[in-house]
């Protein structure tokens, strides 16, 4: 048997210490070892983006990261999007604007959206479409995904403005 390597990482606010095979992919670690099956495997060539998560704040395809490479990292998956029982604005947007159909690409699509809105809180439709190049959807034609992300962007700007008003 290949040797096992200890890893320690934080996922959705919880610290996990495990031993993993050197060759285990992060997505399989999340799904098989931690039971976080919300992150999906859609391909084996890093194209589809269904497995996209946030690793230390960066959107990464977790099928293209070894579990050992994530040692010491802070991860956020779809299961960690909602806070205190409230959906993240991106989740709200996908629900409000019918941004999903079969739901298989959705976790990766939403994590990508969270990342792109952190980078650009006020994107144009064209910028959203460009930034979604690493995630594929076969059901929606992306039309409502763009609407969903714009909805989330507006909600997040509103919340940001409210926070600023309270602070001032």
């Amino acid at each position: 048997m290949p040797s096992r390597i200890p890893v320690s990482l934080q996922v959705n606010g919880e610290v996990h210490e495990r031993e993993v095979d050197a060759r285990q992919l992060l997505v399989h670690f999340l799904r098989d070892d931690l039971g976080l099956t919300g992150t999906h495997v859609g391909c084996d060539t890093s194209q589809c983006g269904a497995c996209t998560i946030l690793m230390d704040g960066q959107a990464v395809k977790s099928c293209t990261v070894l579990a050992v490479q994530a040692n010491g990292s802070t991860l956020r998956t779809v299961e960690g999007l909602a806070q205190n029982g409230s959906y993240h604005p991106v989740q709200q947007g996908f629900w409000e604007k019918h941004g999903l159909q079969c739901g298989y690409c959705t976790p990766g699509m939403m994590m990508t959206a969270v990342y792109l809105l952190e980078q650009n809180p006020n994107p144009t439709d064209e910028q959203i479409r460009h930034d979604l190049e690493g995630v594929l959807c076969r059901c929606t034609g992306y039309h409502n995904i763009v609407r969903a992300i714009q909805y989330a962007a507006a909600e997040m700007r509103k919340a940001g403005a409210a926070t600023e008003t309270r602070a001032s």
Binding site: H40, D44, L100, G103
Partner: protein, 789 residues
């Protein structure tokens, strides 16, 4: 402050989906999320050759791999029955060669299974699969359907001369006379290229066989769980009452999850041997060769017309690629679902269609997103445009001239079907209106004057949906039931569960059916849940394909709701000491006509039905009903789509500037969901038109074997879609609905190609085959007969 009332969630409202909270939270359960203790993993070893004889197998090293339980080759499992084909075309020379689940003698495409590894972990299975030694004697291969019929072509099956799996003919009228008399004739040779479905979730199976009880629990990513149950019973001999098939969340299907595959037979066979849960999850590159493909037709089409463009005859000959074996519904796709739709939206007096189904050393081809109808619509809409170009008329006017008029419905076509209802000109007019067609043509005139390449393309489609009357479909040879079922159970507290036989994979049935229940029973949308996809809880069913779920499944639901209302009225009348004839059922209240104060709610009645004590003499307790709906006819959605493109003369790049879609699927149950279906379908049609293509080399290797090489549309490739609707109810079901799942795909490829041909028309271009990659367009521009500036 006034609080807004929550949406009632009735028929016609764009309510948010019931499915979404679990899916946006990562709490949906897809097949790979099913975790059972002591699960073993199955890894299939597949042929790297497109055509070869197996000369030897050696599994010793694979078996010795740590974590491997057993390795099976074809010889070890020779008693697995042949993979079935279930569409037995009548009056044809249909041939169904043996299709071994695991090949032991000859392999016929690069996905053919040659061995199966059972292991304690996925990784061990992968390690061992690499160590299975199969030696082959390669044979010559053929991948092109027309080439495969020629003398000297490699032969796939010993009992199928010229690789011809069937001949099929359809039509009516004197086509030869029509052509002899016609002043105008146009012809096209169209390659409708092979597509790879690419549901985002590949296939997967968990099979758990209890050797003590003989019970089989079977999770599979399928569109037809109930049909899979029946097929496993009939083919694999598991007593049907001991089988439970569950389609959990299904991550897209598009027709590719509609069959009993070789893997199904192998999984059940191995599950019986091992007696513990077995899991197989298809990998994506595996999916590219192992899951059915779509389209792949070579079409020779000729059309004749009067000088002013009235179509008088159509002649079509098609080579339809079947791949290496007859998949479950394969014979029906290029025949019944293609050939009968050749007439399209037009009145054509004489039609002749001939289809050859041809075996090649490629992945089997079966239904894919539209299934035969996109191929028919593309052909018809291309050749109608060709006619317009030939006689120098606006393609709008040629369409309008030939449309079946609204006054002619129901209309029986020369190929046999009877269209239920339609107003094709109305949808066309709406599309012209929302696209600003006249302004676009004016802009095009200016663009052309400046040497710019701008195109406007139309596609006016009609599709056969709402599959269908069992009797009619069975008469075409389909060994399938086509009714649908629904049970409605009103609980004692007035909450409702509907159990439906359809099996969604993204369409939003839980929402749409709940809207239907809320509408009829007058209960709250949130008080209704819909159960589907589990043969252990749903009475019976057929499945979701052919845009049938709302038309046929909705029909069954309507029948059960009607029965519930009748019983509820009887109970209310009894409680109110009134006669049944005097009762009115209105928005969940059952009151005496003219006296709304004498009323019972559906909740009151449900509790009474459950308690039983106060019911009318002789009435059974309970408030539920089960119904089976087998429609009298199919449904025939239609519409017109318009695509506007700009072409970069220097690079050949096609920019799809805007896309307009006007569809008529009857009344919209949930406009937001219906529009979502159109968006996705249109994206697929655009994908076929611009970028998607399965490519084999001459030896039968799939060159476009992964998402790196096969270009499904990305967000950036697509425009916003501008949608419109007309509403022409169907007479085939009580809701008047027609189905919307496939419309976009059926319309879109022709709209885009017509647009690009239109853009390049000043250069003398009359036809282009898909996909319209920049390389193809650049070459066309370079070799164009006219400069067009």
């Amino acid at each position: 402050m006034a609080v807004a009332a929550p949406p009632k969630g009735v028929f016609g409202e764009s309510v948010k989906r019931k499915e979404d909270p679990r899916l946006i939270s990562g709490k949906g359960q897809f097949v790979d999320d099913v975790r059972l203790p002591d699960t073993l993993y199955v890894t299939f070893v597949r042929s790297p050759h497109a055509h070869a004889r197996i000369t030897g197998t050696d599994v010793a090293r694979a078996k010795a791999t740590a974590g491997v339980v057993e390795v099976y080759t074809g010889r070890d499992v020779a008693d697995i029955p042949s993979v079935p084909c279930g569409w037995l075309l009548p009056e044809s020379d249909l041939k169904i060669p043996a299709h071994p689940a695991i090949a032991s003698d000859t392999v016929r495409f690069t996905g053919d299974i040659v061995a199966a590894v059972v292991s304690r972990s996925r990784a061990a299975g992968r390690d061992a699969a690499n160590l299975v030694q199969i030696t082959y004697e390669p044979l010559p291969a053929v991948t092109d359907a027309e080439e495969a019929t020629k003398p000297g072509a490699p032969q796939l099956h010993p009992d199928v001369p010229n690789n011809t799996g069937f001949h099929w003919n359809a039509g009516m009228g004197d086509v030869d006379a029509a052509f002899a008399a016609a002043p105008v004739k146009v012809s096209l040779r169209i390659r409708n290229q092979r597509l790879i479905p690419n549901a985002m979730e590949p296939r997967g199976i968990v099979a758990n066989y209890n050797q003590a009880s003989g019970a089989l629990t079977y999770w599979t990513s399928t569109q037809i769980p109930h049909t899979i149950k029946l097929l496993l019973a009939m083919v694999m001999g598991v007593p049907e009452q001991k089988i439970q098939v569950i389609a959990p969340e299904v991550g897209g299907g598009f027709g590719s999850k509609l069959y009993l595959y070789a893997e199904d037979l192998a999984m059940v066979h191995l599950a019986k041997i091992h007696g513990q849960p077995l899991k197989w999850i298809e990998e994506k590159r595996e999916s590219y060769v192992a899951t059915t493909h779509g389209r792949d037709q070579i079409q020779d089409a000729e059309l004749c017309a009067t000088a002013d463009g009235r179509i008088t005859g159509l002649r079509v000959k098609v080579f339809a690629n079947l791949g290496a074996y007859q998949s479950l519904f394969a014979p029906g796709i290029p025949t019944i679902l293609f050939g009968t739709m050749l007439t399209g939206a037009y009145k054509i007096p004489a039609i002749q269609g001939e289809v050859l189904g041809v075996f090649t050393n490629t992945t089997p081809v079966d239904a894919y997103r539209g299934a035969g109808r996109p191929e028919a619509a593309h052909l018809m809409e291309r050749i109608v445009d060709r006619l317009a170009q030939q006689i120098g008329k606006d393609p709008v006017e040629v369409r309008r001239l030939n449309f079946i008029p609204a006054s002619d419905f129901p209309y029986t076509t020369p190929t046999g079907p009877s269209y239920d209802s339609g107003d094709y000109a109305k949808a066309l007019d709406k599309a012209l209106d929302i696209s600003g067609y006249q302004a676009l043509r004016e802009e095009q005139r200016q663009a052309r004057a400046q040497g710019r390449l701008m195109g406007i393309g139309l596609s006016s489609y009609v599709e056969i949906c709402g599959m269908g009357p069992s009797k009619v479909v069975q008469a075409t040879g389909a060994q399938a039931a086509l009714w649908e079922s629904a049970t409605v159970r009103v609980h004692a507290t007035g909450k409702v569960t509907a159990y439906v036989g359809t099996s969604p994979h993204g369409q939003g049935h839980e929402t749409a059916f709940a809207q239907m229940v809320a509408t009829e029973l007058g209960v709250g949308f949130d008080d209704v849940d819909v159960v589907h996809g589990d043969s252990g809880s749903v009475q019976m069913g057929v499945g979701t394909f052919g845009s049938r779920s709302m038309a046929v499944g909705g029909g069954a639901l309507h029948m059960s709701l009607t029965k519930i209302k009748h019983k509820a009225v009887e109970i209310a009348a009894h409680l109110l000491e009134a006669s049944v004839e005097d009762m009115v059922y209105e928005e969940g209240n059952i009151h005496v006509k003219g006296d709304p104060s004498r009323t019972k709610t559906i909740g009151d009645v449900a509790l009474m039905a459950f308690m039983g004590g106060g019911l009318p003499e002789g009435m059974e307790p309970g408030l539920d009903a089960t119904s089976y709906f087998d429609p009298q006819n199919f449904t025939w959605p239609f519409g017109t789509h318009i695509a506007v493109t700009d072409i970069d003369r220097d690079t050949g790049q096609v920019r799809l500037r805007s896309y307009y879609a006007v569809d008529d699927c009857g009344p919209l149950i949930n406009p937001m969901l219906a529009e979502g279906q159109v968006h996705g379908g249109v994206a697929q049609g655009i994908g076929q038109a611009l970028s998607e293509q399965a490519v084999y080399d001459d030896s039968g290797q799939l060159l476009s074997g992964s998402l790196m090489d096969y270009a499904i549309p990305t967000a950036e490739m697509l425009p916003d879609f501008q949608l419109g609707h007309t509403v022409t109810p169907s007479s085939s079901n009580p809701w008047g609905v027609k189905g919307i799942g496939e419309a976009g795909t059926i319309a879109a490829s022709a709209a885009v190609v017509n647009s690009v041909v239109d853009a390049l028309a000043p250069l003398g271009v009359t036809h282009l085959d898909m996909p319209l990659t920049s390389e193809r367009i650049w070459n066309v521009i370079q070799s164009a007969p006219a400069d067009g500036r």
